[in-house]
Symmetry: C4
Subunit: 231 residues, 4 copies
């Protein structure tokens, strides 16, 4: 079942490695089929070099395995919670990519300092809080999803306009309309995390991108009047 | 038309990727044929892996497409404005390369700290100001070109002696007598941006290169009495 | 003798190079056969490009060569002391990998700042003290092993829960149940050394990972109730 | 003439590129035949991808071309001055490698902070002063060699024990008993330049390697009682 989606998901996982965002088995990408309400995710702890489409696991929105011989990624409940809450999301990626993880470990939002940021993220990428002991006991991975939702709701953020988050002390999650764009958003987040760190180091008084430039760049690529690329 | 120039332009765009200056479609290079007053530029948002010479777009100095099935780069008006104002320029490159973009985001000129800089740039690489709301409304990309010209005129700079600029909050543009040297200047700017950042971090009191060494290095490679390379 | 182990050891040494942890001959990995009490180690100063299983040297726990035409790694006595003292260790790796060496040169423990750290190291990675003149005179390499043991004993650390150490002014050693995991622990230590340095640079007040998150991540991968990966 | 040496020199130049120390034509390596008093050096500004042994230029100690169709490296007089003054040197390499150049631009000696440094350089790598206007006028490249000699003499340094130097605002030169070790010393200098910069950034109070460890590491690889590698 969902053979095409499995192929997309395995390609997305391999792309994470190819882009240098994932070492060993430290990452996972998934995609959902909204019609059936099932999503396809990478198995847990399996070598990227031998991973193939048929190793992908099919899971329902409660996190139950529907098809597959291998255990799904240990982060599966996080994916399930996000897919259930945000019907506009089609794919999710999780990595421990170096520079985004550095911001997560610093416990700071990634501010919008340049147009490379604004082309993809319409404002700062938020850093979500540490989980409490109670949340960890209740179920670490599902509660991680809930803390992401809490962060976006408290700040009133549109989940597709800001398609990523940092988890304090952990690492980033990104998403998109499909798994390919979720992976691309991981690549962008990694690059802007590096750029913005050193921009601040170089000039401690460097300002965030003025709102007018943020608007211009985000909106020339996204929204009704976008004119970037081929139509 | 302009088949040879199209080949040069596609090679220059691929070189930007090969040199690690461009991720995805975040860059563009162009070259002008001064006889016809037409220039050749990369199409917008097209994958580098499949891009070929026949995908290149031919544009006039008003930015109108003269030949080509694809939309030209969204930055085409910036190229057009620069080609029109500076007849000595034969090629232009634009990237979001990491270290040059960091200086752009910091809003600082790249000072001439070493001979690697002096071999190519005869003095600091200027950082141009943010555009105003009025300029954005009038036409973001063309006005970007005008702000570059404003920066060079205010400082009395020779556009071939300092063949590049940073745009505050955005990224670099470089140019040269042809598109190959424009790309090479992007590579140099990226490298010196990295070196100069860390030289200042290592020694906050590090001085700029003395004028006499700047002169020596620039002039042994450029100008009448140059003696570097093969003649 | 120990042909399989030699193959494992040569592969582990090559993996150190492939992962970018070793330049030239600056590293070594070994594995022990507990039944015979003999270990297999890389020869000293031999080129990785031509190194093969039959070049590996078999050594006893006193550091005497039992089989092999080449001199064993000059660090062999360090390996011998560790294998003798810690029967739970099956493999050891030593590199001068850039970021871990930077912490060693700074003379600082690598604090547990994130879950990438917690997935492998159950707490800070300690930095052992410089050797004294007396220790150097007595035998630099064997005494290095003893200083590692001293460090772990003074702090009451479990050698498999914290499978690595920094030597002040020198570089890291890592270990594991076998040589493959020793190498993997070197890769993790390198990555967290980089992340943790820049997390602290980005936010000088960044806190260490709360104990509850450290516990959760370490224990979901290790110990009785681990649920990461395939069983 | 000197066909074998030409082959060594072309390989050394290619190794500089392969090791990531040289972009475009920004580097040069040479080797001397002490019997004839002639040395072989890379031509100036020639592409590394097409460079072959027969392109190498043979030069005498006054810097006069003895054989070769191409202009020798513009830095040839620096090599000549060093070969003439130091009969123990067999090969020289010059690069603008990123991290060593950063120290040169910062105008600082690279302190001995770790054993990676001590394995190759027996003490700090000195940074030589800027040339004066008079020196530049007299002959920039030959005077560069003289300033290197001045630096070593003022500090009483053994040129083979400290086989490299930084030129303030410029970049490193390294040397060795042959051109292969000159290149290797460039690689080591680049690596320790990176490590030492970040060790100091991580811990501003990080101390230099104690003399006893510096002695131990340098002397276990060099000198009469060396025991590293295969004999």
């Amino acid at each position: 079942m969902l053979e095409e989606l499995k192929e997309e998901v395995v390609q997305a996982n391999l792309e994470l490695t190819k882009q240098g965002l994932v070492k060993y088995t430290w990452g996972n990408a998934s995609a959902i089929d909204r019609e059936s309400g099932l999503f396809v995710i990478k198995p847990s702890g399996v070598d990227y070099e031998t991973m193939k489409a048929s190793d992908m696991v099919v899971v329902d929105l409660k996190g139950n395995v529907v098809e597959g011989d291998l255990n799904p990624s240990s982060d599966t409940p996080t994916h399930a919670v996000l897919y259930e809450h945000y019907p506009e999301i089609g794919g999710i990626a999780h990595t421990h990519s170096t520079w985004a993880t550095i911001w997560a470990q610093a416990g700071l939002d990634v501010p919008a300092m340049g147009t490379t940021h604004a082309d993809t993220f319409y404002g700062p990428v938020p850093c979500a809080r540490f989980l409490t002991q109670e949340e960890i006991d209740r179920g670490y991975e599902a509660e991680t999803g809930k803390v992401i939702i809490e962060t976006f709701e408290e700040r009133g953020l549109d989940v597709l306009a800001v398609p990523g988050v940092l988890l304090h002390g952990h690492a980033p999650f990104t998403w998109g309309k499909d798994v390919k764009s979720a992976v691309m958003n991981s690549v962008v987040l990694e690059e802007i995390s590096k750029m913005n760190l050193f921009a601040r180091e170089l000039n401690h008084f460097a300002q965030e991108l003025p709102q007018r430039i943020l608007d211009k760049h985000y909106l020339r690529k996204h929204g009704e009047n976008a004119y970037y690329g081929q139509k």
